[in-house]
């Protein structure tokens, strides 16, 4: 901008002598130098704070990480007899607790970023269709983001309360505890111990939380494998054919065939669902939900009626694909019940899952606001052009919206990864009870809480606490976050569509 302003000075006419030109250049240089000093005065306050409290501390943290068993530093240099070279890093990398915290952090970040961004994208796409009241929705969805995690953690902790009396070890129907268990029991679902449950969620879903596979669960292997093969064949066939056939005549045949194959499967599926729902209907909440879902489906079908009439074979093949996916999922779920869901396979613990859910709830509004801004930025003409070219529904979303939104998505990906990797407050507020007596469950401990416990939790009397060890942890975190950002930039940055 400022160069534009300098333009009149820069225009040198050809008849100037070399000396004059040199003088002019020197004048220009001096002027810029004088302006520079002024500019430096303007940026000085911000830069002094940034350099002193944000930039230099990194190098100082590295310096501190070379000392062991220090907790209070008088002056800047710790006593020289505490110097230990790279001893802290050696301890760090051979410490099981650290690696546990590291992998928990990765799981947490992956959950928060991936699920959080997908949900935010869905919500932003919905909000993009709304004209009246969009501001109201945006403001309301953003609200959780401005509230503090400590207060929010208190609320969620009460909602997740799993039993009403300390004498109980399991939630019971007449002692549901907080809101979540009340809703679960209202729907006839098994009540959970939520934040207190350290068992993996796959273990809970597929094995009712038993440590091993269910002892007397018989699987009809032959039938299951046949079911799976059948479902995969239908699904794959229809996917392949539905996508590639251009001739409507043949597509019509395939659509009819798919309908014939898929109908019995769908009937069986529907029958099973009805049986399930009949049990579900016993309580008014359950029947209310079912009625709302049925009404919604009926309304949607009514809206789609003209399009179904026009292109029934396309609908039939899509419908068969949906049935195929449902059958595959049903069979896989059936198979999963016989598996061993121990250790890594049992997935994140239920308590970690709850933490991830709260974190997503808290950050959703921010992601939605940014994505919505990105969506409104895509010009309507482009959409119109694509629609005239025949793009519809999912193809439109995948080939138009996603590429055009990719800079925004990428920005959010990096921002939310960085903040997820260093999240602390939520776990602190829920699991650390007063003072420094730290009680973080094994499956919840993340790098930031591990760092807090090590550096500030209990003095400096062992090799795995104190300022030196804590600094080693943050230096590791720093390098990890930096390299992850660089990797994201190299892998995804090239696919991002800036224009």
């Amino acid at each position: 901008m400022a160069t534009v302003q300098n333009k009149p000075l820069l225009t040198t006419s050809p008849d100037l002598s070399a000396a004059e030109e040199q003088q002019l250049n020197r004048r220009k240089f001096n002027k810029k130098l004088r302006r520079s000093f002024k500019a430096y005065l303007f940026i000085a306050p911000a830069f002094i704070i940034l350099v002193v409290f944000h930039f230099l501390p990194i190098f100082y943290a590295f310096f501190l990480s070379l000392y062991k068993r220090i907790s209070v530093v008088k002056g800047i240099v710790p006593p020289s007899d505490k110097f230990a070279g790279f001893f802290n890093y050696q301890t760090l990398f051979s410490n099981g607790e650290f690696w546990n915290a590291f992998f928990n952090t990765i799981g947490y970040a992956a959950g928060v970023v991936v699920i959080g961004l997908l949900l935010a994208l869905g919500l932003a796409l919905l909000l993009d269709k709304v004209k009246e009241g969009r501001n109201f929705y945006r403001t309301a969805f953003f609200l959780p983001n401005v509230t503090s995690l400590v207060a929010v953690a208190a609320v969620w902790k009460v909602m997740f309360t799993s039993y009403s009396s300390t004498a109980l070890t399991k939630p019971q129907l007449n002692h549901p505890g907080g809101l979540l268990n009340w809703i679960f029991s209202g729907f006839g679902l098994p009540m959970q111990r939520w934040l207190l449950d350290e068992r993996g969620i796959f273990n809970l879903i597929f094995n009712d939380g038993n440590q091993g596979a269910r002892a007397n669960y018989d699987i009809n292997w032959v039938a299951t494998v046949l079911e799976l093969i059948l479902a995969l064949v239908i699904f794959g066939l229809l996917m392949a054919i539905g996508r590639n056939i251009q001739r409507p005549q043949l597509e019509r045949v395939i659509g009819g065939l798919g309908l014939l194959l898929a109908l019995p499967l769908a009937a069986l599926w529907l029958y099973l669902m009805v049986v399930e729902i009949l049990g579900f209907l016993d309580n008014p909440l359950g029947s209310g939900i079912v009625i709302i879902l049925l009404l919604g489906a009926a309304y949607w079908l009514y809206i789609q009626l003209p399009s179904i009439r026009k292109n029934w074979y396309g609908w039939a093949s899509n419908y068969s694909i949906a049935v195929g996916i449902g059958a595959v999922l049903a069979v896989l779920g059936n198979l999963a019940r016989g598996g061993q869901w121990n250790g890594w396979l049992s997935g994140p613990s239920l308590s970690m899952f709850c933490i991830i859910a709260i974190a997503i709830w808290h950050s959703l509004g921010f992601n939605v606001v940014i994505l919505l801004a990105g969506l409104t930025n895509i010009s309507r003409e482009l959409y119109e052009a694509a629609r005239l070219d025949g793009a519809q529904g999912f193809a439109m979303f995948w080939r138009m919206t996603v590429p055009l939104l990719s800079p925004t998505l990428f920005f959010l990906l990096i921002i939310s990864t960085i903040s997820a990797l260093q999240s602390f407050s939520l776990i602190y507020a829920i699991f650390i009870n007063g003072g420094n007596s730290t009680t973080i469950p094994h499956t919840i401990s993340v790098l930031a809480t591990y760092y807090y416990q090590a550096a500030f939790g209990g003095g400096s009397d062992s090799d795995v606490n104190g300022f030196g060890y804590g600094s080693a942890i943050v230096i590791f975190m720093l390098l990890f976050i930096l390299s992850l950002t660089l990797i994201q930039q190299n892998l995804l940055g090239k696919r991002v569509n800036y224009d």
Partner: protein, 321 residues
């Protein structure tokens, strides 16, 4: 999907002319979308509804076993979220003063714990906002309108500081702050956070969108850079100023780890709330627990509602290049 059904109008014309025509139809088509959004919104806001409802309940309705044996139907759902035995605003006073049912010593307003937490938090939050606005405005103006040596390098430096996890700076900063003799002093909560890269970027973006002619006209009239900033640039970028102010306020008000490390002797509202939560009495008096949480988030929510429109515009603009 809307387009496809309106273009294929002739097919169903005879039966649905009435519905398909005019604004009624358009309005009807919007209903499910709004219904869905409102359901999602209610799910999103459930914790707040629950929090406020619970904070107004009498003691008997706000214990963990208050729900034992109730019928699980829609009728009890409202009673679940809203006090049946009369609204009790006294809970807020009790939470503020920390007067639990079992407390022996009763506090009054001025020696109440939350009064101290509030003073500490407000002083550090306003101090931070003040500092951030000054440093960011000056730096943003320099990057937007001035030409100087090393501008690009310094800008890249700013970008790089964004990727530094703040945890990494806490321990060194603690050493710096304690060597300056600032531990357990509110200055320790203010000074390190009086520069914000986010605010610099945001203000710079707004300053650059102000027509250059205004700046040049000001210079011709003998207006200094500071005069231009104060009289022209800042009033025209009020959205950015509000956004950075609220962001700094939020950052200061909601921060936990740094106050916990640097200044446990002057507890802010978040630390106070944590102390309040850890109190055993809150396990049985959920109404006071929720009242305390409401007290802790109230200022920020009120501020947010006052500036929400421009604040959200500011955030939305920060995401777009």
């Amino acid at each position: 999907m809307i387009e496809s059904s309106t273009t294929s109008k002739p097919i169903a014309a005879t039966r649905t002319t009435l519905i398909q025509s005019g604004s009624l139809n358009r309005w009807l088509r919007k209903v499910p979308l709004h219904l869905l959004l409102i359901i999602l919104l209610i799910i999103m806001l459930t914790p707040f509804i629950w929090m406020i409802g619970m904070s107004l309940k009498p003691d008997a309705e706000a214990t963990p076993n208050a729900l034992d044996g109730v019928n699980r139907d829609l009728g009890t759902l409202t009673g679940f979220f809203w006090p049946k035995g009369g609204i009790q605003f006294q809970n807020y006073a009790d939470a503020w003063t920390g007067n639990f049912a079992s407390s022996v010593i009763k506090h009054d307003f001025f020696d109440a714990p939350f009064t101290g937490y509030y003073v500490n938090s407000l002083v550090s939050a306003f101090g931070t906002v003040f500092g951030v606005l000054i440093t960011s405005t000056l730096a943003a103006f320099a990057f937007a309108r001035m030409d100087f040596f090393g501008k690009n390098i310094l800008f890249v430096f700013l970008l790089a500081t964004l990727t530094i996890p703040s945890e990494a700076t806490y321990l060194p900063n603690l050493v710096i702050v304690s060597n300056l003799g600032l531990t357990n002093n509110l200055l320790a909560l203010i000074v390190p956070w009086t520069a914000s890269v986010f605010s610099i970027f945001l203000l710079r973006q707004f300053f650059m969108s102000i027509p250059l002619e205004l700046y040049e006209a000001g210079q011709l009239d003998g207006l200094s850079e500071l005069g231009y900033l104060w009289k022209i640039a800042l009033p025209l970028s009020s959205a950015a100023v509000l956004t950075s102010a609220l962001f700094s306020f939020m950052g200061s008000w909601n921060s936990v780890l740094w106050p916990l490390i640097a200044s446990p002797g002057t507890p802010t509202v978040q630390l106070g709330l944590k102390i309040f939560i850890s109190n055993g009495d809150t396990q049985t008096q959920w109404n006071l627990l929720m009242a305390g949480s409401t007290i802790a988030i109230l200022p920020i929510v009120v501020l947010y509602f006052f500036v929400q429109r421009r604040f959200i515009e500011g955030i939305a603009r920060s995401g777009i290049k």
